[in-house]
């Protein structure tokens, strides 16, 4: 048998842009009662090719009585070429994520990536506004990191059921973002309030682009504000995936593109789409 490491596609095929490789688990710890953070050791060149909004396709282990077969797509939560680390934030919801939850430091995890179209940041944008709820926070977090690296200002509007479930706030602050929190428990997460906050930012000249992920309600508000003020908006979407690289067409969703409703592959034409193309679900 040929050893797996002898056929590292990155080593043998320099033109390759998508890598399949095993990474070592450095940490896999709970963030709160629902979410866990997974940290993998990754080669520098792989991390340097990552962009905010992209994802990896993870080969969840046979563990905890679970035998997931298909890979699971997971947004990049953070990538740190200098530290050699790739971060994911996930909620344990099904077979695949339960198995992921069983990983311990030293285990190997198979990854394919980075995959998908990343968030776009135009060179003349100075103020980004991120609007996220739940696991959407994980997807938008690396955008704050990228903005910080480029010296761009970020306002992160973080929504949750309860203040206890507000994740990543310290992370966003550490990356220099202004954080606004809205929660169901405090009665601040209504669409009216979100709209008011966004209108204020727009009026104050603090919104050159809007980014969102994770909530249908938020999509509608962000879509309206973007349209009313002619501001660029982008959304990262999710869909069940098999291949993750565009071959199988299982991950399609309907979008408004070129004047028609078109089925587009979330893994390939996305996961980031222009906000005006997205159709609420």
């Amino acid at each position: 048998m040929v050893a797996l490491d002898k056929i590292d596609p990155r080593a043998e095929m320099p033109a390759a842009k998508i890598a399949e490789l095993d990474l070592q688990v450095l940490a896999n710890t709970p963030v709160n009662s629902e979410y866990r953070q997974l940290i993998l050791r990754a080669p520098k060149d792989l991390l340097e090719s990552c962009r905010a909004g992209q994802f990896f396709h993870l080969l969840c282990p046979d563990a905890g009585g679970e035998h997931p077969y298909l890979r699971r797509p997971m947004s990049i939560y953070g990538y740190y070429p200098d530290r050699g680390e790739l971060h994911f934030l996930y909620k344990v919801t099904g077979r695949g994520t339960r198995a992921l939850g069983e990983l311990v430091p030293g285990d190997a995890l198979g990854v394919v990536g980075p995959l998908g179209v990343p968030f776009r940041i135009e060179s003349d944008w100075r103020n980004l506004v991120l609007v996220a709820r739940g696991v959407g926070l994980a997807t938008l977090a690396p955008l704050a990191l990228e903005a910080q690296r480029r010296g761009i200002r970020v306002t992160a509007i973080c929504s949750a059921r309860h203040p206890d479930y507000l994740m990543s706030i310290d992370n966003f602050r550490a990356m220099g973002a202004d954080v606004v929190t809205i929660t169901d428990a405090e009665g601040t997460s209504s669409t009216q309030n979100l709209r008011a906050i966004l209108e204020d930012l727009v009026a104050g000249g603090a919104a050159d682009a809007l980014y969102t992920c994770g909530s249908n309600r938020m999509l509608k508000v962000v879509q309206q504000v973007a349209r009313d003020h002619d501001i660029a908006g982008q959304i990262a979407l999710e869909q069940q995936m098999a291949c993750g690289i565009g071959m199988c067409h299982c991950c399609v969703r309907p979008f408004r593109r070129d004047g028609v409703i078109a089925n587009l592959r979330v893994c390939r034409e996305g996961p980031v789409f222009a906000i005006e193309e997205a159709i609420a679900w």
């Binding site: 048998m1 040929v2 797996l4 056929i7 596609p9 043998e12 095929m13 033109a15 390759a16 842009k17 998508i18 399949e20 080969l59 035998h67 997931p68 077969y69 298909l70 890979r71 198979g110 394919v112 869909q239 069940q240 098999a242 291949c243 993750g244 690289i245 565009g246 071959m247 199988c248 067409h249 299982c250 399609v252 969703r253 089925n263 390939r268």
Partner: protein, 314 residues
């Protein structure tokens, strides 16, 4: 150096590993050099535009998967304009998979894709999703013969007939395809299946039913490959559940001349080049000069013909 090349009805492949239709596309070139493969096989197209089935289109079952993608198709025009030219940059033979709802439509498309740069036409007479309730041409010998006759008349390129496991007449269907001019048999497509979420009581697929692929399909497809190799004189291409080099060798021993790799590529996108180097090593370790020495080497001499062609429970 061992010889991995095989001959599929006049078409020489540098090795017997190729992708299965619907589990391969241009995008895989971003993972490895597609020139390594024995052949390129494109996703089935239809003549006109098609949307495909409602989502969810896949689910996993016991280390295998079900799919009801349907055949979303951008039509033959877009295919000839965009897809065929992409594969022309490779020396590797291009096999184009087609399907149709009627014999006439099927044959017209077959003629339309018989263009420069295409080396063989794989006719998907087995797709369980297109025809009502999963019925397909390759379920019966008579409908197989009839559509193959029209397809044969429509092209001078090698014709590969892709069979279905959703039949009780595998050997008869295989012979019907051979008699009407098929140059090879691809065995097989997915097995019609179903899965239900017991909590919600809803079928797991938007289309209710779908096709089983992956390791769970392998014994079924291997049995069919064996039957087809015994029943005909044309090359058989094994397809179903190939994930390891042992699977490849098993198909070859059963009588297949080459194999197609489908679902395994979703799990390990680099699996095909890996299988090629592992197969080379396997043949070398067996002390053989050519992979062709493995083909049909199954030791089954004790078995009666009746058992070979059995289609009922044992």
């Amino acid at each position: 150096m061992v010889d991995l090349s095989v001959d599929i009805g006049g078409l020489t492949l540098k090795n017997p590993i190729m992708p299965a239709s619907g589990t391969f596309s241009e995008e895989l070139s971003e993972v490895f050099d597609l020139e390594l493969l024995g052949a390129h096989v494109t996703k089935t197209i239809t003549r006109g535009l098609r949307d495909g089935n409602p989502t969810p289109r896949v689910c996993e079952v016991n280390g295998s998967m079900l799919n009801s993608i349907g055949i979303p198709s951008k039509g033959v025009g877009a295919f000839l304009e965009k897809v065929v030219p992409f594969y022309r940059q490779y020396e590797t033979p291009l096999v184009v998979s087609i399907s149709g709802n009627t014999e006439e439509e099927f044959a017209t498309l077959c003629a339309e894709v018989s263009v420069d740069g295409v080396d063989a036409v794989e006719v998907n007479i087995s797709c369980p999703n297109i025809e009502e309730d999963g019925k397909a041409f390759a379920i019966r010998p008579s409908s197989t013969a009839s559509v193959m006759r029209q397809l044969r008349a429509a092209t001078s390129l090698p014709l590969w007939a892709k069979l279905t496991p959703n039949t009780g007449e595998t050997s008869e269907v295989a012979r019907a395809a051979e008699d009407e001019g098929a140059n090879a048999l691809v065995v097989s497509n997915t097995l019609l299946s179903m899965s239900i979420d017991v909590r919600t009581r809803r079928p797991m697929l938007g289309n209710l039913m779908g096709g089983l692929s992956g390791p769970g399909l392998k014994p079924v497809a291997l049995r069919m490959a064996y039957q087809c190799a015994r029943a005909t004189r044309i090359p058989v291409i094994g397809c179903g559940g190939v994930s390891t080099v042992e699977d490849v060798v098993e198909y070859l021993i059963a009588g297949a001349t080459a194999v197609q790799v489908g679902t395994a590529t979703f799990i390990h996108p680099t699996i095909m080049p890996r299988l090629i180097s592992e197969l080379e090593l396997w043949v070398e370790n067996e002390g053989l000069r050519s992979v062709r020495d493995l083909i049909g080497s199954v030791i089954d001499d004790e078995q009666a013909e009746a058992v070979v062609f059995m289609e009922a429970a044992p």
